[in-house]
């Protein structure tokens, strides 16, 4: 920070000479006059800089740790989970058919069918993460490609893409998803596809709007003048300015997507039982929320932690991608 201040002062010193004196300053003199001892900052790649800035953000680091933990849990589920998540245990139900509470055998208790809740939570992370990340990634790619193309090239391409987006948005998304899933037979891959198709439209709108304003900026004209191709302009000059909306939208989208999956699971069109997913666990447990609140509490908590973690990291990344953040 301090070297920045020094530069500013030096700049002001030059500027403060007054018009007549300043007019005498030739280009060469100005070079000597302005911050002659400005230190050379080593060249770093964008990702190095992003990491440097992200490292200072405690909340983002916590979020990142949580995500890494979740990923580890999901990947190593068979080794971590104490039981088979689909196995129904006789001792997992009381004599009257109620789920049992926490015990040595079932650390978080069991669900209504006598299955180990902890194991189901651990395996549920797989579905939720895969859906959250892949479906969002799919929506993101579609949204960015369509939004960039429509916003930059304008003309009939824009009309076509944006009107198609409007048509898509006019559909009731649940009805649309239900129709698609029921025709295509539910599976994880189909779910990712369907959720992606449903969620690309708002992303396209957001990106399109941003591109419309950025393409009119003078630095884009300057890039065109230096002989950049359209692809280079889009990639090097416009896309970096879209990082903030993309990250914010994606981190919010991951939450929405996980919940969307649970909704689909609830009506039986999501992940098919007995494969566990958090959303499905909530919908199965909600009938018992008074007598066995842990059935909804734990999966709900997991969704919340996941969503929060992605939001924290998203927030941190958005700031870290902005070079106008203080350099330390």
């Amino acid at each position: 920070m301090s070297d920045l201040c020094d530069e500013r002062e030096a700049a002001f010193a030059t500027a403060g000479l007054g018009s007549e004196a300043a007019a005498e300053v030739t280009a060469g003199d100005a070079a000597a006059g302005w911050a002659p001892d400005a230190p050379l900052i080593a060249h770093r790649t964008t990702w190095q800089e992003v990491w440097t800035r992200l490292r200072r953000d405690r909340f983002a680091l916590v979020g990142l740790a949580a995500i890494i933990l979740l990923v580890v849990i999901a990947v190593f589920a068979p080794w971590i989970a104490p039981h088979d998540p689909t196995a129904q245990f006789d001792e997992g139900l009381t004599m009257r058919g109620m789920p049992v509470g926490p015990s040595g055998q079932f650390p978080l208790g069991t669900d209504t069918l006598g299955r180990d809740l902890l194991s189901r939570l651990i395996y549920g992370a797989r579905v939720s993460l895969v859906i959250g990340v892949l479906a969002n990634g799919f929506a993101l790619v579609l949204g960015v490609v369509f939004g960039l193309t429509a916003g930059y090239f304008r003309g009939w391409v824009e009309t076509l893409l944006m009107r198609a987006t409007d048509v898509m948005m006019a559909f009731p998304i649940y009805l649309f998803a239900v129709a698609l899933v029921s025709v295509l037979r539910p599976s994880l891959g189909i779910l990712v596809l369907v959720i992606g198709i449903v969620y690309w439209t708002p992303m396209t709108r957001v990106i399109h709007g941003e591109v419309l304003s950025i393409r009119e900026k003078e630095f884009v004209d300057a890039a065109r003048l230096t002989g950049c191709t359209s692809v280079r302009i889009l990639y090097r000059h416009i896309l970096p300015h879209l990082v903030a909306p993309i990250i914010v939208y994606t981190s919010l989208g991951i939450a929405t997507t996980i919940l969307f999956e649970s909704t689909l699971s609830y009506i039986g069109l999501g992940v098919q039982p007995p494969t566990p997913s958090w959303g499905q666990m909530i919908s199965e447990g909600q009938a018992y929320y008074l007598s066995a609140p842990h059935l909804v509490l734990y999966p709900g908590l997991m969704i919340m932690i996941t969503v929060l973690a992605f939001n924290l990291v998203g927030d941190g990344l958005r700031d870290a991608f902005d070079p106008q953040q203080r350099r330390r």
Binding site: R8, A22, T26, A31, W34, R44, T159, E218, A222, Q324
Partner: protein, 419 residues
């Protein structure tokens, strides 16, 4: 100070002479348009840029057009600085952008060294872009805030494959040195620089491809007054050093006077007058130019007291619906009904090297508007000999008219800004 500064101008001109070669042509396109001398680097012929006004959501249809630039012809000679002045919205920036093909001309040709740019596309145009660059008005908007200085200045080198990786870095340092930026700052971001420094970086980017022709689109209007003179001097120094040709767009009349060899005045999409710097400022012929110049404050209290500006009535008409005939007739103090509001005057060479688009200048009973040093007033029905041609032409040189004693090298700081 003024010595160094005006030396820069004449040095750059290299004796381009006072208007021997004609500007491109008159309004009608069928007239021979090639300039007489072989020294025109850029020839603009019948350039028009119309922005369509559209309506409808799915099926867009044109309901009108904003005639930002309307049939403009001129040329820019090798090594000169052609000033282009006019009010906001008169189309001067659009003209500059159309020359560089940032905005595609609706009609007309832009010849660079004899080759038409308006019909070049894709790769051919990208290759030509090495020859022409632009310095932008807003140094905050014209540099990509997410790129380092090295990336910004080095990008043209990469795009055109002018240097390899290590040569690129070396060249960037060299360019930064040239424009007066400490080369050690090359890995910094634009927001770490002041406005003047950013403008220098923009200039370095423009120089990277070693262009011959640079459009300076109001390069100093967004800068602090104290920085302006530095940038102007830098531009002049670079012109001398690299033999650059400038199209200098500005609304600040004193800056244009300082830097230009010839000056073109635009009004509502058309060029109304074009002449050598000294001639235009000394003996403006077009009523609009006269009014424009009379509005410049004189940095001398006594002269300023005597200055009587020609205050134009009304507003600039909308370029979407320009008035018929001469675009200026709605506000012209000397307009004649039946002539000016019907027929559009073409840019004609009134005197050698002095072009103006006004019916009344060539008419016998020209009601003169005298642009005197002391009394700049409209003499509505004055006798023909009231035209100060004889007396004025004697000292048509520098400092004769509006800027008063401080004339020659008035820095923009004290010259004031003309809206």
């Amino acid at each position: 100070m003024s010595g160094a500064v005006s030396g820069a101008v004449s040095g750059a001109v290299g004796g381009a002479g006072s208007g021997v070669s004609a500007p491109a042509a008159r309004a009608t396109a069928d007239v021979a348009t090639s300039p007489t001398g072989g020294d025109a680097l850029i020839a603009v012929e019948g350039l028009s840029v119309h922005f369509p006004i559209t309506s409808g959501i799915i099926f867009r249809h044109k309901v009108g057009a904003v005639r930002a630039v309307d049939d403009v012809s001129f040329d820019v000679r090798k090594g000169e600085t052609l000033g282009l002045v006019g009010e906001s919205g008169c189309g001067k920036s659009t003209t500059g952008r159309a020359i560089l093909q940032l905005v595609r001309p609706t009609t007309g040709r832009v010849l660079y060294d004899g080759a038409d740019l308006a019909h070049l596309g894709g790769g051919a145009l990208r290759r030509q872009r090495r020859r022409m660059q632009m310095i932008f008005q807003d140094p905050y908007a014209s540099l990509n805030s997410r790129m380092t200085v090295a990336d910004i200045v080095g990008e043209p080198l990469k795009v055109h494959g002018l240097r390899d990786r290590s040569g690129c870095k070396e060249r960037v340092r060299e360019l930064l040195q040239t424009v007066g930026i400490n080369p050690n700052t090359l890995n910094r971001y634009p927001h770490e620089f002041s406005g003047g420094q950013r403008q220098r970086i923009g200039i370095a980017r423009a120089l990277a491809v070693e262009p011959n022709f640079i459009v300076c689109d109001e390069p100093i209007s967004a800068l602090d007054v104290s920085i302006r003179a530095q940038i102007i001097n830098l531009l002049q120094q670079l012109q001398r050093e690299f033999g650059l040709t400038y199209l200098f767009i500005a609304h600040d009349l004193s800056v244009v006077r300082h830097i230009s060899d010839r000056v073109a005045v635009m009004y509502l999409g058309r060029i109304v007058e074009l002449a050598d710097n000294a001639v235009l400022y000394g003996e403006p012929m077009h009523p609009y130019t006269q009014a424009l110049l009379s509005a410049v404050p004189i940095p001398d209290p006594e002269a300023e007291e005597r200055r009587r500006p020609v205050v134009l009535q009304g507003d600039v008409p909308s370029p979407a619906d320009p008035p018929p005939g001469c675009h200026f007739h709605t506000r012209c103090p000397a307009a004649q009904t039946g002539l000016c509001d019907l027929e559009s005057p073409s840019l004609a060479e009134v005197r050698p090297g002095h072009w103006a688009a006004c019916h009344l200048i060539t008419a016998e009973d020209y009601p003169h508007i005298r642009a005197g040093e002391d009394d700049l007033a409209v003499v509505a029905d004055g006798p023909p000999d009231a035209w100060p041609g004889d007396t004025r032409s004697d000292h048509s040189g520098d400092g004769a008219a509006l800027d008063g004693p401080a004339g020659g090298g008035t820095p923009p700081a004290s010259g004031g800004e003309q809206a």
